[in-house]
Symmetry: D2
Subunit: 351 residues, 4 copies
């Protein structure tokens, strides 16, 4: 084992990131050291790169970023039995406290004292990352590395889609960033009937079509709500999966939702959203769900079962791969609106 | 049978109501004619009396008001088998179409083509009212007349409380009008642990205390959210039952709700409500439910079972009783903020 | 309109059926008269043909059989608004009372006073059949006639599969008669991961494979339970869909079910089944569901959405088509173990 | 701290138990050492005392029994933060593995690799007991010691009652041992309407009446099923809570269950039970639930909320208290059919 490693870190309370040499993490009796194979860049990483207001309040530099990844187990603490060296793994990066009200209720994903690896402590944009054994997820060797690297956002999509009935349901996905795109695939795999998607970016609309959306609408140039109502015989969709965080998209989504429908909100608005509660929620008898993270670990179990059974084709999302050192290129492309995911390889790209 | 009867009607598109003599309703083969024993005044009736904007768009005078009542079956159409003359009954006043998407899904209470008796057609502020047999509810003779007259709003309360888990849950009721007050009683009867209530009216706060609330707070003079958070160890309440429609109360209710909690909204805001969706719904993983009417007819079945078993003590709500003719007094008292319900007696008060 | 029509009837309390000429049904104000296009033979029809003990207790000859069909609306009663002449339709043949405890709870499929068209009154093995408007199901013209004729059993399959979570679940279907076979297709369409099927008939096993089962086992010649446990890492399947009614299959199904799993029982055993309740249900924390009919009408809504979206490929089930007069051939083939469905055409085969 | 302590142990693979002097348990970094205040005898302890077949297969002497108790924290491992010395506590005695399919799904109570303290390793019939911090339950000081000592079986009752809807439901409890009796109280506290109970022991029937059952029947001397059907208008009860494990009681319970009802089975039959699956489960559309242990830790959270709010009056269950040394008397009384619970005091009785 080397004593040091390369890592992509927030080193200063300012815009930008830097490659640095840091010590390989020491592990305790219940920890696992993972050699990172591939890691993926999240929208959150872009916010931290840009040092926005949220980042300034949350991030304490220096810290290594990266919370979407897969790799192989390098070493395990003496009390770890769930995995062994050489196992192909990913991890749930939300580390819960285990004793708050939510943890006791089986709602660990909304733990009051959660710490996130790659946000609150050193993450996976590095050659090695330390993970508590409770959070390690062993992957079937048949799962491709590129899928292994994006299980965190795919888990968001699976959690959102499966937060209520989906089989035989009409669905509207508002916002076709990576999680929105994945949601289209997951919804179709789980029996949704018609899937509508709205998105203002032409590139993303094209991607949504490739991922299987039945109808892709541009709310900037057409009356998407009206079209959806017409297509559903005036009733509206059974399920709204809100993936944009955009106040207008949220409002339109609610207008397109049928009475008695489900609205699952994952996109993060940056300001208060004025809602027509009477007409869009109360008189409609609608159910609105805030979606955060992934259920620990029901979502993982179902996601891995779907993947192992070959039910989720996410190929259009992949394409760009970069060694860790070329992070500036990767961040620039994503900032520029590239749809899909970019994978970073701390050990270099091979295979 | 007389040919005409007295009825309290909206006779003109203007403020006010009037007693009028109208024909006793003719019934079809699947209808039931009910002799009204007691009827109760709803907040909606006050809006119609006052001829507000909503009333002007919805009400087509002349029409007899009244949608909370009980009585005895006077006559039945030839195809009616569920009840017979002399039966003690009430009715669900939302008449559903039976073939829209929602009706087909067992969500008749949010039927796309609903018509409400007492709003869209002649109601129960009269000596007789015509009800389709499907909507007649036979009451156990042990249920007191005063309870029989308020099953419509009690059903709202039962529907709201039982829209999710309630046993062993901490609860906040925001707004202590009649339905809020009933919700306190229903929640306690169904195993809630601590019930908090917020209300700005002193009279209603006193009533909330009588109905069994464990802690009653005045949000106009104290930091109710902070007190509730302190009392729940910083966690917040498991369940919010929003009964006020007041934007500030709604916002405070969400702040007092725990991560993973349920917010059931029945109160009707008259404008858009700016919601902090990120912190109050999404990051919290909260579930928000729009509540409308009563489930047809699951809510009725459970409500009547609770009543028959003597689990709901609503006595503090009752008090004022008036013959139909004294409706002006009754409406004035309610407009003046009298807490609780006023019953009207088309045949005069007896017993 | 003709005054009489041909119908396939149980005319005597004895084995066999006969073609008879009977009056075209007269309809009331809320009825629909349907011209039958295609009807399908159910296992229940075989029992009635054979005049087994159950039939002797239930069937009151003379009666026209047939409860799986599609056709076009010929005439409607004056109060019918949901369909009009020429509409392509099928029907839910369980006619519920509307006022028993179950009907009031939205569980009309287990109504205490149910009457079944084609069992308790004249059915669809005839040129015309009379259906109450509440039970008529309007079909999208894009749905093929052969699918329209088997919606009753397909509804059984959809009801069973969707009686609990199915996405990302491993499934065991015990028994590959028509409903078992359909369940395989529905489960896959709704996101199940691995689907195991057990069946002793070689023909049906071949069919199960064609319909998409991942592993088809013959419990008569191999240790199916052990194989399933091995394939699931010793855990067992998440979901058991019991379609055989065979006591041994039921017992094996429970042994192959994981702790915390769901067992949905639709197959009808003809005797008491000794269950190892401690090990198979109680210590396992399992959920066992009795499945009867189809939810009225949630199952229909979801089934039709799946069909319209092209998610259910049932082609291997079809093949044999006969004019009504050739019923003896059709019944003989089914009695002989032919897998799949045979359609009867009262008006002759065309198209 | 003393080095040794008194403990009630199975010392030999034979009938009987013995008081022995053993070392005070050494604790690891994540363990808690609890000074036992009061412990309660479970039916399982009687089986182990009697050395029945199940005990012979499961118990590996020597081992200290006792899995129902409360006490105060004596010492904590260095990594324990959830409790501190002096805290009033009880514990969940099922220790789960954390990584099996069920643990990953939030169903830790049916963990495939569970170990039970007091069965598989030294338990609480001793001056001190060692508990992993994850399983420690901190109790509100307002909860009486006698309640603290029986939270394990009370948790069984709460888990069973709350395994489905209970508010406004009619309930049948078959078998009035301690958990059956507690279930009556929990069901009433959570809004059940009529609660029927069946029991052959006169003493226990008297106790059931005291605990709040509305109708207590002796199935040995009256037709309990018929009486329940008559009382429910021919419909049957909404919920069956099976607490006896007796095959006849199970069969009668199913006959008294309404179509669409819920049967929650906790009692443990010692042989296969022949079930009329067609009429009692399938045609009824019933839901049958195996109930094991308590949900970890949702059941605890709800149970403690109910207790803290004073909603559960279990006083009739208490009475007998003995120092640990008098265990023979206590076991003899319970073997003789004494209803209710006997508490053992390792440090002697005080207060």
């Amino acid at each position: 084992m080397p004593a040091t490693m390369r890592a992509l870190r927030k080193t200063q309370p300012a815009k930008g990131l830097a490659i640095a040499s840091v010590g390989v993490p020491a592990i305790g009796p219940t920890d696992v050291l993972v050699r990172v194979r591939a890691a993926s860049i999240c929208g959150t990483d872009l916010h931290i790169y840009g040092w926005d207001r949220w980042s300034q309040g949350r991030i304490k530099p220096p810290v290594t970023l990266g919370h979407e990844f897969c790799g192989t187990v390098e070493r395990t603490g003496e009390e770890v039995t769930a995995v062994k060296a050489g196992d192909f793994v990913s991890a749930e990066m939300h580390v819960n406290c285990g004793h708050c009200h939510q943890c006791r209720l089986g709602e660990a994903h909304i733990c009051q004292n959660v710490r996130i690896i790659g946000i609150d402590q050193d993450g996976a944009f590095a050659e090695f990352v330390k993970i508590p054994a409770s959070n390690i997820i062993k992957l079937d060797p048949s799962i491709p590395e590129r899928y292994g690297a994006i299980l965190d956002p795919l888990g968001n999509a699976v959690h959102t889609v499966l937060a209520g009935p989906i089989a035989g349901q009409t669905v509207l996905v508002t916002g076709c960033g990576p999680i929105g795109l994945m949601s289209i695939v997951v919804a179709k795999a789980c029996g949704s009937s018609t899937v509508f998607a709205t998105e203002t970016s032409e590139q993303r609309r094209a991607m949504a079509k490739k991922m299987g959306a039945d109808a892709v609408l541009n709310p900037a140039s057409e009356d998407a709500v009206r079209k959806i109502l017409v297509e559903t015989g005036g009733t509206g969709v059974d399920v709204l999966l809100e993936m944009s965080g955009n106040p207008t998209a949220i409002q339109q989504g609610f207008k397109a939702l049928r009475a008695g429908g489900r609205a699952s909100l994952l996109g993060i608005p940056t300001e208060n959203v004025p809602l027509d509660l009477v007409n869009d929620v109360i008189f409609k008898g609608a159910t609105v769900q805030g979606i955060y993270g992934r259920r620990m670990y029901e979502t993982w179990v179902k996601m891995l079962a779907l993947l192992k059974a070959g039910r989720l084709n996410l190929e259009p999302l992949f394409g760009e791969r970069e060694p860790l050192e070329k992070f500036e290129d990767a961040f620039a492309k994503l900032q520029g609106g590239l749809p899909g995911k970019i994978l970073l390889y701390p050990d270099g790209i091979s295979g």
